[in-house]
């Protein structure tokens, strides 16, 4: 009876999700079929325009089954995530579990950790400001094709002039300078974050998304809190640093889940990599593309590295090796396909894993801080 009581939230969630799934197949799926055949209802059109505007581009390239499978996938993924999240309340049912969770959500930290992490991220910030600054100036001739999104849509629908781009970049750099001279650290973190979001909005306003800065951006979301946490004293355990680690690891794990849920084991077929290698026409990539076994090995390696970030969250002492794997993975995409940069923000953010305070390491067996 006690066990039933303990698992009542996951059990009710499961029943609720199964009912939701039944309703989807009864009411929503027929609407999706109509939309894929070119007859969406007004409501479905609004949903598509809001959440999946690329449908109107992709419907010319893919068959209706592709979109139906995608709609089903949204249901399955939603059910899976909701079901997993329903187990979180279990951690609040007794003191021991609660303490375990609290420990999991803290990273060992020190003054040295704070300065190494902050300054590495600041250097990367300067590199990203330069990248965005030159890219935004490059796009000025295409201004009439610009489509504002997010925050930028509220501020102005127009692409910025060269003067505005200069001013925004200078403001962004100045906010970093404030950090260096130890003035208004939290405010500088917030200003940097806002300017980062604002300039990214311009950068992604030409119908193309790239993920070059994504993990770095997620870390920047936490930077003001990290600065706040270390404002006057340097705590031995940091929640902001730990949440940065969890977000970065989460990005890798979700990337791996995307591959396995979209393509299944077919993703490991060497042909998948060979086509990309041939398309990118890099010398080393073309050489590797000749060997099926090598291509399968690289695909499997990439998948295992991505998923191992989840393991690293629990086995903290393994993380340096997992980061080394991540570094090799990103350098491989650079040398084999020409994707990214030798100074890739994706591996620079590993600094949040690598400089945890050495005197406060986690216990290997329990994962708790000792």
């Amino acid at each position: 009876m006690e066990k039933i009581n303990k698992y009542r939230i996951p059990a009710f969630t499961l029943i609720f999700l199964l009912m939701g799934g039944f309703l989807y197949f009864l009411l929503i799926r027929p609407e999706v079929i109509n939309a894929t055949q070119g007859n969406p209802s007004a409501l479905m059109r609004m949903i598509i325009e809001t959440f999946y505007p690329r449908f109107f581009i992709e419907q010319n390239r893919f068959n209706p089954e592709f979109f139906l499978a995608k709609a089903d996938m949204v249901l399955y993924r939603g059910m899976m995530v909701c079901f997993l999240l329903s187990f979180i309340p279990l951690f609040f049912q007794n003191k021991v579990q609660k303490e375990k969770l609290n420990n999991f959500l803290l990273a060992p930290s020190s003054e040295k950790t704070f300065y190494i992490v902050s300054f590495t991220l600041l250097i990367m910030h300067l590199f990203i400001i330069h990248e965005l600054y030159t890219s935004l100036l490059d796009r000025i001739p295409l201004a009439s094709f610009y489509k504002a999104r997010g925050l930028n849509e509220i501020i102005s629908g127009l692409y910025p002039s060269a003067t505005t781009i200069h001013i925004l970049s200078i403001l962004w750099s100045l906010s970093l300078l404030l950090f260096f001279i130890k003035k208004l650290r939290v405010a500088s973190g917030i200003i940097s974050l806002l300017l980062f979001t604002w300039m990214q909005g311009y950068y992604f306003g030409f119908e193309k998304i790239d993920h070059s800065f994504y993990t770095f951006f997620l870390i920047c979301l936490l930077l003001p809190f990290y600065y706040h946490e270390n404002r006057s004293t340097f705590p031995q355990q940091s929640w902001a640093l730990r949440w940065m680690q969890i977000l970065v690891a989460g990005v890798y794990v979700i990337s791996a889940l995307e591959k396995i849920t979209v393509s299944g084991l077919q993703w490991l077929n060497p042909y998948n990599l060979q086509v990309h290698l041939v398309q990118h026409q890099m010398k080393a990539g073309l050489w590797i593309a000749r060997f099926d076994i090598l291509c399968s090995f690289l695909l499997l390696g990439a998948f295992l590295i991505q998923i191992s970030f989840l393991v690293g969250l629990f086995k903290r002492n393994w993380m340096p090796w997992i980061c080394l794997g991540g570094f090799i993975f990103h350098m491989s995409t650079y040398f084999l396909m020409g994707i990214g940069h030798w100074l890739n923000p994706w591996f620079v953010v590993y600094v949040v894993f690598l400089f945890e305070a050495p005197n406060l390491k986690a216990n290997d067996k329990t994962g708790l801080l000792v």
Partner: protein
């Protein structure tokens, strides 16, 4: 654990999970589906080209003459074309080079090592 901290956990976790569940970008949070789709056998790659009228014939547009990055331009043509807005695209492009009266979009389909230009014009736009 403070309410503010709980809120940060919930918002950032939602930013990470929602694009995964909904299979879409929710700016500034993105779906992480790079190279996730399997490549179809004999899949063709498409390239688009812009031509503009000059004297008696048509001349290939070099994006560099308009100080445009070729990759950015290619992505835009593709999206406008598949949305059946090719004429809108050409009209906007013509603002950058006002002299030519007629503009066209052609496409290449590249399969394996053989590239072949479509003999038909995909879109034509006249001033």
């Amino acid at each position: 654990m403070s309410t503010g901290r709980k809120l940060i956990y919930i918002l950032t976790a939602a930013g990470l999970l929602l694009p995964f569940v909904l299979i879409t970008d929710l700016y500034p949070f993105f779906r992480l589906g790079m190279f996730a789709e399997p490549v179809q056998p004999h899949q063709t790659q498409e390239r688009f080209e812009i031509y503009y009228q000059q004297d008696a014939g048509f001349r290939l547009l070099d994006p560099n003459e308009l100080s445009i990055n070729p990759n950015n331009l290619h992505y835009l043509i593709r999206n406008y074309y598949y949305r059946n807005e090719g004429a809108v695209f050409l009209q906007k492009l013509s603002d950058l080079k006002p002299t030519p009266q007629t503009w066209r979009i052609y496409s290449y389909k590249i399969a394996s090592d053989i590239s072949e230009k479509d003999s038909t014009v995909l879109v034509e736009w006249r001033k």
